[in-house]
Amino acid sequence: MHLIRCPHCGHRDESEFVYGGPFSGARPDDPGAIQDEAWSNYLTVPDNPVGPVVECWWHANGCGAWVTIARDTATHDIREARDDRG
């Protein structure tokens, strides 16, 4: 079970969090200006590397913060955690 650092609550067990998928940058402001294929890829083709990924977790059973972390899928090392509430 991962130990994820919530910027508000400190290191907490993964069971307190809900996985929110990979972080692929903030949602573009004007999807209408993006090519069909590019938009479909944005929605449905996330990278799935063995190695570092950036992903979002929701501290659902905690403070409710969305946390973005950089995690290595091969080692589970979590290198940084960012508070998305700023």
Partner: protein, 979 residues
């Protein structure tokens, strides 16, 4: 030898003043406090404890701990439990154990005949032999024949529980290295958790006769354990096994027999800053014909039973070895009175230090045991030069064998640590750690006692330092050790006998099976494992795996490290489901959520349902003599003809405020909210960015920057996550705050033609006149003397007032509504009637009509997809998907040709009812009171243009034709609900 002669008069770790009675397969036996079930059965002369998994060969005790691959028992009574290892079951007074895999008894096993046909059951026989006419005909028989213990019929008495612990240093194992590590770490002041699977400290020291600090080694261990247990910063868990090593240094431990009397087992989740793995080593067996016969035991196990349990497992022994450690065992056996007939050593040159331990015992150097003889127990062995020559028969009733030692690297490997092959000890040893952990002592490949003590102290101190403490150096005690050297020997079996030479004794995997797997092209060690099932039993191949790897290397003619090793996975020992679940059983697993009228509903005799989001709410309120349909019809009629009241409290409710609240609504809803005036509400549809329907609900504007959003019951949590993610990740600068009000406000939905009368009778200061308080508006005021928010929305198609009050006022509101409504014939309405009423109106129910493939156009809701807004979540994806021009399934109504014929919800619609790919499905089907017939909603390919035609629902037993209609069966203009 009688039972009395098998137990030594003195010595060992048993307490002779505390005799214990137990039964095995119904027969009474006696043992002592300190015994395991295995040691007590050995002392009582029970040779055969079980039958093997596949061939039903007789099996007896082989090991003295978790490594034993043969003796599974089922415990009955208070501690009912299946598949326990006899060598790890602590003997208690009244213990009742039975063998598994045997019928009628291990002595007379009916299926033992399978052993005679073992050639018919090679590796992979399941896949080859039982193909025709189908595996399902054979499976029940095979499962019964090859089964393990049945699950206990009744729950064990007592409970399981879980504890979470944090440690600066977690030490696994209280052998010499572990104790030494724990002492070094604890001395620094670090919080130390020490986990050991024995009841007393010492590990292998308990089984051997070594010395530390001028005293017997077990005395040093007892003193060290006592010292640690007395320290405030040390938690010493004995009789506890670390069985899983997970991410971020989380180690899972199961503690048997914790001090709390009614706790059966306690599960510990230890999060440690550093871990020291001091799990010792397991002896590997040697591979010869009939190496599974009762009486053939690991040399270290014989040594343990003699020294620790004061049991003689036989009278005359042959010791077969390829290393020095068996000489210490032989010496202890001889000292206890066992006649050691010969030591067969595969090494041509036996070191003098080893010879010196056994005095005048005959040593057959450079020879091997090729076969054990005896049907139910070893009676003699064949020994000789493996290169050829005459074989010699040596009579014996005990064969103690040792193939060297494997470091217990399971936890290290579970933590993703790597291994290397150490030629000196002919075993895989830890290489690099993947987490903040270190391996110490025999587990690290250091066989000598002095090295274990020094390595443990260094690793313990290192762990404490790494966790930020200052470790003090502590003098290491002097020790008296025994020599260790080994020359690998993977196979000692004569040709033609490989079908009865076992590698994995638990799963009946022989040398022949491995040869077969390799011949059939399973080259990788992982494939050999899966094809033969070698190493896949509950023991995870603790004794077998190394020999399987050695055999693969031998057959392929490669070096052992090239053969590789299989993945080590948790659990290290069998763990009860109860220990994993802990207290999370029964209603505690997923607790229901209740509204304040649950008790009232139950008093009324309501049949309670789970309504999504874990809410418990009434399905219907049966009256005496009513059928299910009678009750639902009655509730529907009350709403259509008079008035009903529905507990709408579980509805998701969120207050959204801030300068950018409107921007948020316009982003998440498909329709436009910019012109919504304060005091008014609007129905909205929410999509995900891939164009699927996420939720629907009505949002009210309270004032300029303040809104109240309602969501469906089941999706409240999902919507909250969705909105928070937008605000916290995507639109971080927006000024919006969301407050969850779902449990703060409860609502009684009063609906039906007399709803306004009930509102008047309740007394309210809100002007509820139709023109003063129109549909899709909300008002704040007092209702029945309680502060309330009243919404005019309708999910039934009738005039509705949703009266929201604070949770603490809800029960009194509910009672007042029932009182005030009595003279208008009010009835409580459950979710079944609600489902009928909404289906009659064709109102969307997520999970019925919206299933993840459906977009708003399919539901006839193109009007809700704003053309004015440049963007909203899901807009782009819906456009892209629809641009393909593929036919869509559209929402329609269905009227079965036979009005009394129901269509099962979910039934597929196929072209003409034929057995072809479906063209739609039935999403809801109810008996309509207003139409006096069955009606249905369905998603049907190009359904809207087929209105007036016929669709066919195809079920297993019949084809149901139905006329396609518009998806609304009651008041299509919506006049009633606005009334």
């Amino acid at each position: 030898m009688t039972a009395a002669e098998r137990r030594l008069a003195s010595g060992g770790g048993i307490d002779r003043s505390r005799p214990l009675r137990f039964t095995f397969d119904g027969r009474p036996y006696r043992g002592f406090e300190g015994d395991t079930l295995a040691s007590a059965l050995l002392a009582e002369g029970v040779d055969i404890i079980g039958r093997s998994f596949k061939y039903h060969r007789p099996r007896g005790v082989i090991g003295a701990g978790v490594e034993d691959p043969a003796c599974l028992v089922e415990l009955a009574g208070r501690a009912a439990s299946g598949n326990q290892q006899a060598a790890t079951v602590r003997l208690r007074d009244g213990l009742a154990a039975t063998s598994v895999n045997c019928w009628p008894s291990p002595e007379l096993d009916a299926a033992g005949i399978i052993g005679a046909f073992s050639r018919l059951l090679p590796a992979g026989f399941y896949y080859k032999t039982f193909m025709w006419p189908g595996w399902r005909y054979y499976e029940p028989w095979i499962r019964r024949a090859a089964g393990l213990a049945a699950a206990p019929a009744t729950p064990a008495e007592g409970r399981f529980e879980t504890r979470h612990a944090h440690a600066d240093v977690l030490v696994v194992g209280a052998g010499p290295a572990g104790l030494s590590a724990a002492l070094a770490a604890a001395g620094s002041g670090a919080r130390v958790v020490l986990v050991d699977d024995n009841r007393v400290p010492g590990g292998a020291l308990l089984n051997r006769r070594l010395g530390i600090g001028g005293a017997p080694a077990e005395e040093w261990a007892a003193k060290a354990g006592g010292e640690l247990a007395a320290m405030d910063n040390v938690t010493y868990l004995c009789d506890a096994t670390a069985w899983g090593y997970r991410e971020h240094n989380l180690v899972l431990v199961v503690q048997r027999n914790p001090e709390t009397p009614d706790v059966i087992e306690r599960s510990w989740k230890v999060r440690a800053r550093r871990v020291v793995i001091a799990t010792g080593a397991h002896e590997r067996p040697l591979v010869f014909a009939n190496n599974d016969r009762p009486g053939a035991m690991l040399a270290s196990a014989v040594q343990a039973y003699v020294n620790r349990y004061a049991v003689l497992p036989g009278t005359t022994a042959v010791v077969f070895t390829n290393n020095d450690s068996a000489y210490g065992a032989a010496a202890d056996m001889a000292a206890a009175g066992i006649d050691v007939a010969a030591i067969v050593d595969s090494r041509k040159d036996v070191p003098g230090a080893a010879r010196a331990l056994v005095g005048g015992t005959e040593i057959l150097a450079g020879q091997v045991v090729t076969e054990a003889h005896g049907r139910r127990r070893v009676r003699s062995v064949s020994a000789g030069d493996p290169a050829g020559g005459t074989m010699r028969r040596i009579a014996c009733d005990l064969l103690a064998h040792s193939g060297g030692w494997n470091p217990v690297v399971h936890l290290h490997c579970q933590s993703r640590g790597t291994l290397r092959f150490d030629d000196t000890i002919a075993a895989f040893v830890p290489k690099d750690a993947a987490q903040p952990a270190a391996v110490a002592g025999a587990a690290a490949g250091l066989p000598s006692l002095g090295d274990a003590l020094a390595d443990g102290a260094a690793k313990g101190a290192g762990a404490a330092e790494a966790a930020g403490f200052r470790a003090l150096s502590r003098p290491l005690p002097e020790c008296r050790d025994q020599p260790y050297a080994v020359e690998p020997l993977w196979l000692a079996v004569a040709p033609g006998r490989e079908d009865r030479s076992f590698l994995d004794i638990l799963n009946d995997v022989t040398v022949d099976d491995v040869r077969l797997a390799l011949r059939e092209g399973y080259r990788s060690i992982e494939h050999v494992k899966r094809y033969t099932t070698g190493g896949m039993g509950f023991d995870q191949g603790k004794t077998g795996n190394a020999n399987i790897i050695g055999t693969v290397a031998h057959v392929k003619g490669i070096a052992v490290p090239e053969a590789g090793f299989t993945t080590f996975r948790p659990p290290y020992v069998p763990v009860a489901f109860g220990a994993v679940a802990g207290a999370r059983t029964g209603p505690v697993v997923l607790p229901f959520r209740h509204t304040p009228v649950t008790a009232w509903n139950i008093e009324q005799g309501a049949v309670m349902y789970e309504a999504g989001g874990r809410w418990r709410r009434p399905g219907y309120f049966p009256k005496p003599g009513e059928s299910f349909q009678d009750s639902v019809d009655r509730e529907c009629r009350s709403v259509r003809q008079r008035v009903g009241v529905y507990d709408g409290s579980p509805l998701g409710k969120f207050e959204i405020k801030g300068r950018d609240a409107l921007r948020l609504l316009d982003l998440v809803y498909t329709n436009d909210f910019s012109d919504l005036a304060p005091g008014k509400g609007r129905y909205g549809l929410m999509l995900t960015d891939d164009g699927m329907i996420l939720d629907d609900g009505v949002t009210f504007r309270i004032d300029e920057h303040r809104y109240l959003m309602t969501t469906s019951t089941a999706n409240a949590e999902t919507v909250n996550r969705h909105l928070e993610r937008i605000l916290q990740v995507d639109r971080r600068g927006w000024d919006v705050r969301i407050t969850t009000l779902t449990s703060e406000w409860c609502n009684a939905t009063i609906c039906g033609p007399r709803a306004r009368d009930v509102m008047k009778a309740l007394a309210t200061d809100i002007d509820i006149d139709r023109d003063a308080f129109p549909f899709m508006h909300f008002r704040s005021g007092s209702v029945a003397g309680l502060p309330a928010r009243v919404f005019r929305v309708s999910f039934t198609g009738e005039v509705s007032f949703e009266v929201n009050v604070r949770r603490r006022h809800f029960r009194s509101l509910w009672d007042r509504v029932m009182d005030a409504g009595r003279r208008f014939g009010i009835e409580p309405v459950g979710s079944e009637a609600s489902h009928v009423l909404r289906t009659e109106k064709g109102f969307l129910s997520l999970g019925h009509e919206a299933d993840g493939t459906v977009d708003p156009h399919d539901l006839g809701m193109s009007w809700i997809m704003s053309r004015k807004k440049a963007d909203f979540i899901g807009k782009r994806a819906v456009e892209i998907r629809r641009s393909s021009g593929e036919p869509r399934r559209e929402l329609v109504g269905l009227l079965p040709d036979d009005p009394e014929q129901a269509i099962p919800e979910g039934a597929p619609l196929t072209p003409g009812g034929s057995k072809r790919a479906s063209e739609g499905l039935t999403t809801a089907c109810v008996r309509s009171v207003v139409n006096d017939r069955w009606i249905a909603l369905a998603l049907l390919e190009n359904g809207r243009e087929r209105i007036g035609g016929t669709a066919h629902a195809r079920t297993r037993t019949r084809i149901i034709p139905a006329r396609i209609a518009a998806p609304c069966f009651h008041d299509p203009e919506g006049r009633l609900l606005r009334g």
